[in-house]
Symmetry: C2
Subunit: 413 residues, 2 copies
């Protein structure tokens, strides 16, 4: 293993032993210190960020990508607000989940503990560096951050400020940034089972697939969102239209936006023209043959149904029945979020009971699949796997548990 | 992918869609049918098992291994009892874990759902075939079993009987045995992310390491148990001796038996001679230099401390302080189970709060780390990883969850 990486991971593991017993008060004090440090050094952060922006321009990065990289005074202040909000959230560590009294007198407590060392691999946005480090801190986890090389100057200053702001309160080595832009370092990181407890890739499908394929450390997959809206024959048309617009274009680039709308054939002739009107020319519509008979649109292919556009594009398919809608979703969904619009309670129950996506909705927008919207206060991402945690990953989902068993000399018979 | 495997995995995945909504009554009926079928075909099972035993003898397998393979009338009846006991356990599926009311009127339910398709890779004992299939059935999961080739005749008849006994109640394809003894099939199975939701290796360190290294499907690691007993300076000597004997030799071959005893220096001269007497010549003792000055024993090396003997051997080390005991455990433990013997509550709290093993005990034997002993009724194994579930894996730990969100037209602002 790379010597620098080994040193960092050893420090991270040592720090994780101590983080378990840091008090809520100290963690909140550390978070407030971080927020103050970011505010005090706002100019310095902007100077370093401008180096990344200059490199990005030299490399002809797209304006959208450059915007993702940018940290200005407003964005930094918004980061600071998010860090402060974390201090208001309940500390999950030490919570007793279950208590069991056994006939032999053993008293068993199931208690929340940190997972340990999180490795997070992410792409351009430098605000993620602060977000994740502070979520890990609040949940008593240690973080090893591997950001994109395009944001390296910003990530360096942000990490240094966080380390300095917390050094008198938290164990040495609880926030690490991997300052090596060689991609091979990622392979070593995701196979460092002796040091890392979980790896979370945050980014596009390419990054996630790479990590899943190559990691030996357990992975939490986040973010792949091919979400569906099903307009049932008993749909309330106003709800159907409002939710279609919200779920598709309130913020099309995010994982909880919908990509495909399935419409029951009995209602398609009413819904589709209203939908076209509501989208107001902002959305490219791709429909199957039946859709094309009702509205003017591009043809939709199987590839369209499998695709996460993250853009102003929607695929539409007319289905004969709710069963066909469910089968279609089973075939194409990434198991993130799906919604049914209907006034028929039985149809809603059938839809929600049959699907195995992380979030299933009745008469609401899939855009609510979000830690903040669920009331978790903050989130690490949206898990789309079934093991460990599903849907929004809040502080509780960033923990593990441990059994504490109290006896007075019991032996097994 | 191997065509047979692809067919089986496709059937398994299709079955998992339907298993989610099978009622508790139907699952219990299926379990009772299995228990009856096993009893009715007891002679047939023994005939098939004898084929495996004959092969094992031909291949000069050790008597201990042959004993693990053996199914006689008594063992089959014990399997049947275990299947019947499962019908008494509460069904975790559909349980509401959390309910959240949001200010915008959204009602969020976090509901237990099956994980989906379990791939279980295990070694010789054929009773595991029935155990695991029935645990999966009760938790609405589909199982794809890959047993050892030495038990193939036994596993075939057991699987066939279970499939036939449940075919009128459960979806087609919910119990699968991979009837291919080529080891390459395991690689395909543990990389079949489109079909398999979790893989559980049950067996020795070699099997577990192989699966962790090569799987792209999420893994639950079970069973590695380098467990410790720490005799504090404030230990009650009777408890120390009783628990030492129980934790070491009540059943030394299992993962929750201890391998190393750490003794505080202030009490070593009292404890060690009593321990030698209590072990009564049944246990080979390997001690560090300080131990060798007090009792007659073999020398212990670093390799001893790292080893899971699963045998009548124990390593002993004298420590200067509780801190040294904790550091030693951090260095060598597989994070399964550790116990402190002390009458000092503060020392007990320090030990239990500092360690991050799945189960930490005060004044009790580590042999209680078991689903049955925890009151879970049955278990798939003991998880030693931090993600998803730790310690005994009961029915609840074999589930995932899903969010059901009920609205009346809500859109995100």
């Amino acid at each position: 293993m790379d010597k620098c990486l080994l040193k960092q991971l050893t420090e991270a593991k040592d720090a994780s032993r101590l983080m378990k017993n840091i008090s809520q008060e100290d963690k909140n004090k550390a978070l407030l210190n971080i927020s103050s440090a970011l505010l005090e050094h706002i100019d310095e952060i902007i100077i370093e960020n401008q180096k990344d922006i200059a490199c990005a321009k030299e490399n002809n990065m797209s304006p959208a990508m450059i915007d993702r990289l940018l940290l200005d005074s407003q964005r930094i202040q918004s980061m600071v607000q998010d860090v402060r909000k974390l201090t208001q959230l309940e500390d999950p560590i030490g919570q007793v989940i279950r208590e069991i009294e056994r006939p032999n007198g053993l008293h068993i407590q199931q208690v929340r503990v940190p997972i340990g060392v999180f490795a997070i691999i992410y792409e351009s946005r430098p605000n993620v560096t602060v977000d994740i480090a502070c979520l890990c801190l609040k949940s008593s986890n240690v973080c090893v951050l591997k950001g994109g090389k395009e944001a390296i100057h910003s990530n360096r200053i942000l990490t240094r400020l966080m380390q300095e702001a917390t050094k008198d309160i938290l164990p040495y080595g609880c926030i690490h940034l991997i300052d090596n832009t060689d991609r091979l370092i990622v392979n070593e990181l995701i196979q460092a089972n002796d040091y890392v407890d979980v790896v979370v890739p945050r980014g596009g499908k390419g990054l996630i697939d790479f990590v899943v394929k190559n990691a030996t450390v357990p992975v939490i997959e986040t973010g792949a969102g091919n979400c569906h809206l099903y307009i049932d024959k008993e749909a309330d048309m106003q709800k159907a239209i409002d939710i279609s617009v919200n779920a598709k274009i309130q913020r099309p680039s995010v994982c909880n936006a919908i990509e495909t709308i399935l419409v029951h054939q009995d209602i398609a002739h009413v819904y589709l023209p209203l939908m076209v009107k509501a989208f107001d020319g902002k959305v490219e519509i791709r429909g199957d043959e039946k859709v094309q008979q009702i509205i003017d649109c591009y043809p939709a292919t199987k590839e369209d149904y499998a695709k996460e556009y993250d853009d102003y594009i929607v695929a539409i398919k007319i289905v004969d029945s709710i069963e066909e809608a469910i089968s279609h979703i089973y075939q194409y969904s990434t198991k993130h979020s799906e919604s049914i619009i209907t006034e028929d309670e039985q149809a809603a129950a059938k839809f929600m009971d049959s699907l195995d996506s992380a979030c299933v909705y009745h008469n609401a927008s899939t855009r609510f699949s979000d830690g903040g919207e669920f009331g978790f206060g903050a989130e690490l991402g949206i898990s789309t796997q079934k093991l460990h945690a599903r849907g929004p990953l809040g502080l509780i989902e960033m923990t593990s548990y441990q059994y504490k068993i109290y006896g007075n000399g019991q032996v097994r018979k």
